[in-house]
């Protein structure tokens, strides 16, 4: 399979053909490569990223957007797709101009890992994964361990009829270690998870001490008590704080929800919503972070966008259409999951900026509450302003001290109430951006980083 650049002439010609029947047209072509290794006590699995490629065309049909896609970058299949799109566009001639101004950016970007995982080769990566597995299995009581190491390079080419051309090749590296402890047929686990844009350097400290520590954590989960239930003080660790940032002011500030009149945040733009110690950011340009991109799928370069500035709700995430409708500028957040998926306003890396309270100070303020650790998932409610955050484990906090380890929990609450109740934001110690995937609704998953620092507030928690 040849590279995207080998087909740029065919793609540009196809775009020009569509452009003859539309006021504006653009394309995103995509190609992947990569490798994943997964080992456990029974199996070794090596997977190559499928040799997939494709292109999606979007054109303005006078009153709405029209799209077509093909998994061929040249030849009859591409021609057929273009012809059918042009035919649909011809039926919809006339109408207003497309909303907003098109990008005219031109550029090329490519991740340069300091130490690429791919350079280890399959044997080297398998050897590293087995080493991690064996460190975990050496801990008494650990019956099984799964280790996964992967890298992935995605090339995207954006072209439009206004002259924009953006080519990017992003390399992401990811690692996961899950030691599983068993007792009386009951499995329990803790995990280590890291990833980012780059090579092995984004995995941080994947060493014996780290793996053994996670394995000990898995064993400890067997003795975890039931979590408390009800409304109480909640201290979110940085991973859970990141989920909070993502589900609360992340999804709520995707401005397509404003345009749909489906955001509880729209009426309070500009208002003070939390303490001065709270600043929330989406930053697609953050070097090395998992959700970073060089440019978005409308040809706008990624950027840092402050959503909440010292407690004041100041910004939203925009594509060209929402920017035009709401008198803003595009923020580089238009993303497609792949060439078969539509473009939406999406987050990149969303996080809580460090505050000024140490972990010890935050703990000492809690009389009765719970520390929520290892966020696993979240779900938003853009109109109602509720949020659900799920975590793998936690500790009770009693009279200013950490006490019992407790099992998995869900946090539920109204975002604005949660913000009002914030009692402290942690310092940069422990700041982290975790790798994850974000869906728009329940599909269209894109890499999204979430992170931040410790955050103390008040909410409902219960078993989950």
């Amino acid at each position: 399979m040849t590279g995207l650049e080998d087909h740029e002439g065919d793609l540009a010609a196809a775009l020009a053909k569509i452009g003859r029947t539309a006021m504006f047209a653009e394309l995103v072509a995509q190609r992947w490569s990569g490798e994943s290794v997964q080992v456990d006590s029974k199996t070794t699995t090596l997977s190559a990223r499928p040799r997939l490629q494709g292109v999606v065309f979007r054109a303005w049909a006078g009153g709405h957007w029209q799209e077509a896609a093909a998994s061929a970058l040249a030849g009859a299949e591409l021609e057929s797709s273009v012809t059918r799109l042009a035919s649909e566009l011809a039926r919809a001639s006339g109408g207003p101009a497309p909303p907003g101004a098109p990008s005219t950016s031109r550029g090329e970007w490519k991740t340069q890992p300091r130490r690429a995982l791919r350079d280890l080769g399959a044997e080297g990566t398998i050897s590293l994964a087995k080493q991690c597995r064996d460190w975990a299995l050496a801990v008494p009581g650990i019956g099984e361990t799964q280790v996964r190491l992967s890298w992935d390079e995605e090339q995207r080419l954006y072209l439009n009829t206004a002259g924009a051309r953006c080519y990017q090749a992003i390399t992401r590296t990811h690692g996961l270690v899950v030691p599983i402890a068993m007792e009386g047929g009951r499995p329990e686990f803790d995990y280590w998870n890291a990833g980012g844009v780059g090579g092995l350097e984004v995995l941080g400290t994947l060493d014996e001490a780290t793996v053994r520590g996670v394995a000990e954590g898995s064993k400890a989960m067997l003795a975890a008590k039931a979590p408390p239930a009800g409304a109480m003080d909640v201290l979110l660790d940085p991973s859970v704080g990141g989920l909070f940032a993502h589900e609360s002011f992340g999804h709520g500030t995707e401005a397509d929800q404003f345009v749909r009149d489906r955001s509880y945040l729209k009426p309070i733009l500009g208002q003070q919503v939390g303490p001065e110690s709270l600043t929330l950011v989406d930053d697609g340009s953050r070097v090395g972070a998992w959700g970073s991109i060089y440019c978005d799928d409308e040809g706008h370069q990624s950027q840092r966008t402050v959503l909440v500035d010292r407690g004041r709700f100041v910004g939203a995430l925009h594509d060209r259409e929402t920017a035009a409708l709401l008198h803003a500028t595009p923020t580089g957040n238009t993303r497609r999951a792949d060439f078969l998926s539509r473009a939406f306003v999406r987050m990149t890396n969303t996080f809580v900026e460090p505050g000024d309270r140490s972990f010890e100070e935050l703990i000492s303020e809690v009389d009765r509450g719970v520390l929520l650790e290892h966020g696993t998932s979240g779900i938003e409610d853009p109109l109602g302003g509720q949020m659900q955050l799920k975590v793998k484990k936690g500790h009770r906090i009693e009279h200013g001290k950490l006490t019992d380890l407790v099992g998995s929990m869900a946090l539920s609450g109204k975002v604005l109430d949660f913000l009002r109740e914030i009692k402290g934001v942690g310092t940069k110690e422990g700041f982290v951006i975790n790798p994850g995937f974000c869906g728009k609704g329940h599909s269209d998953y894109v890499p999204a980083g979430t992170g931040g620092v410790y955050l103390l507030s008040h909410a409902i928690v219960g078993t989950a």
Binding site: T43, S47, Q66, A229, D261, L383, T463
Partner: protein, 469 residues
């Protein structure tokens, strides 16, 4: 050649050109997707055709007492593309290890069951069918005061799947799939009352516009009830879970733990283990008409089966494909599935098979209708919609936020509740509460939702966390 009915022959053509040593298999897929996205009553975006044609090839190579499997997928159908994918698969197989010395792929001898999977009208004219479907969906909203659809989409995928292997198997089938998403907003009335939303998602095999008038009535009612809902109480309470909610819990919670994948890692309950009450019987039915997980064949080309997994609360079977079956020296149960949740396209050809549930059936019980289950509950909670409640695959812990539910008082559905959490565990040691052990009443009105056919269930108790004790 056996075929469940497909208009494609992609895998068959590729099979003629494969020059690899057996055993190998190839899956071909031609998929077309069409979508209509709307904002309010206006079309925002029309998409389609989104056309993909590709294949995935798997080779299985013996390494002493183990097998090395190598898989690669590609959209490059040229001879060079096929050769490159075969080369990748061979390379990968040299590094892989699976504890089965010999794996037999299915041959071409068994007739498939009749499983309806294709919406003929959608297949014939997808663009106009979707436009008409969206019109039928939006029509019942017209003229309603204080309630609107804020946005939504209908996505239809038309797929032609073919499978061939070195044992001579040549099978294929077509299918349609429809994903619906609608956000319904209730608003207006007394100043200061926040709007409410009911968010609908579902997966089906066919367009069913006849359901919309009644369904839209219900969605509008739930959206309005969100506005006046209060938080639930905290406590261990009887909870009624309807099929829509169970669809997010049961298949995900059971699929892994009852699979050969879990058994190989000693994470599966063994045959004979009591994992639920005597009223719990679960069947995997890959032949269930219009089930999202149903098909004439599994994704290795074996005719789909109907098999009991749990009978009167006891495990009686596990799920295998050819590979995991070989590890235990048992035949495949026709549960090979190729799909993924994540960032890549959800196309069969791009994934190697693993054992998974097809369509899961929870046998009806004697609990009667939803109203009768509420009567049996006395005082409790009826959950209409939960947030992401998907169980942890290893531990079975599940739970989520109540998006909309109702207090049950004196055996009757009472005021709406929202917020707080409902959760518990799928499995527990004998004598301890769990969803499967504490499902005291199973309803008798099953319905198909995505990959689950189930009646509503009364669980006594589940943990509910709200604002007050």
């Amino acid at each position: 050649m056996t075929s469940g009915g497909t208009s494609s022959d992609l895998a068959f053509r590729l099979a003629e050109r494969i020059r690899a040593e057996p055993p190998w298999e190839v899956i071909g897929e031609r998929a077309r997707r069409y979508e209509v996205h709307f904002r309010g009553h206006e079309v925002e975006l029309e998409r389609g055709p989104l056309a993909v044609e590709g294949f995935g090839i798997r080779v299985l190579r013996r390494h002493g007492e183990a097998t090395g499997t190598g898989f690669q997928a590609s959209t490059d159908l040229s001879p060079e593309g096929l050769a490159a994918a075969v080369g990748d698969a061979e390379t990968i197989s040299r590094h892989a290890e699976f504890p089965a010395p010999s794996v037999e792929l299915p041959d071409d001898g068994q007739a498939p069951p009749e499983v309806p999977l294709v919406d003929p009208k959608l297949w014939r004219d997808p663009t106009e069918s979707l436009r008409a479907y969206v019109s039928a969906l939006l029509a019942p909203f017209a003229g309603r005061a204080g309630v609107v659809p804020t946005f939504g989409s209908v996505r239809a995928t038309l797929s032609e799947v073919t499978i061939a292997n070195s044992s001579g198997l040549r099978v294929g089938f077509n299918g349609t799939n429809v994903d619906l998403e609608v956000a319904v907003k209730a608003f207006g009335g007394p100043e200061g009352t926040a709007p409410g939303e009911y968010w609908v998602t579902d997966e089906a095999r066919r367009l069913a516009p006849e359901r919309f008038p009644a369904a839209v009535d219900a969605w509008c009612r739930y959206a309005a009830d969100v506005r006046r809902a209060k938080q639930p109480p905290t406590g261990e309470l009887p909870v009624i879970l309807p099929p829509d909610v169970l669809e997010g819990i049961l298949p995900a919670g059971l699929g892994f733990r009852l699979s050969g994948v879990a058994r190989l890692r000693k994470l599966a309950p063994t045959v004979g283990t009591q994992i639920g009450g005597e009223n719990i019987s679960l069947t995997d039915d890959g032949t269930y008409p219009w089930g999202a997980g149903s098909a004439p064949y599994d994704d290795e080309g074996l005719p789909r089966l109907r098999r009991t997994l749990v009978e009167r609360g006891k495990v009686v079977g596990h799920l295998y494909d050819s590979l995991y079956g070989a590890a235990f020296k048992v035949p495949s149960t026709a549960n090979a599935a190729r799909s993924a949740v994540g960032p890549s396209m959800d196309l069969k050809f791009a994934h190697a098979p693993v054992p998974a549930l097809s369509t899961l059936l929870l046998a009806p019980g004697s609990g009667g209708s939803l109203a009768e289950l509420c009567e049996a509950a006395g005082e409790g909670i009826l959950v209409q919609q939960l947030g992401w409640a998907r169980p942890d695959a290893f531990t079975g812990a599940f739970g989520g936020e109540i998006r909309i539910g109702y207090r049950v008082r004196g055996g009757k559905i009472a005021e709406p509740v929202r917020g707080g959490t409902v959760g518990g565990t799928m499995f527990a040691a004998p004598g301890l509460p769990s969803l499967l052990a504490s499902a005291v009443e199973i309803g008798d009105e099953p319905s198909l939702t995505g990959r689950l056919v189930s009646p509503a269930v009364l669980v006594r108790p589940l943990s509910v966390a709200g604002a007050t004790a």
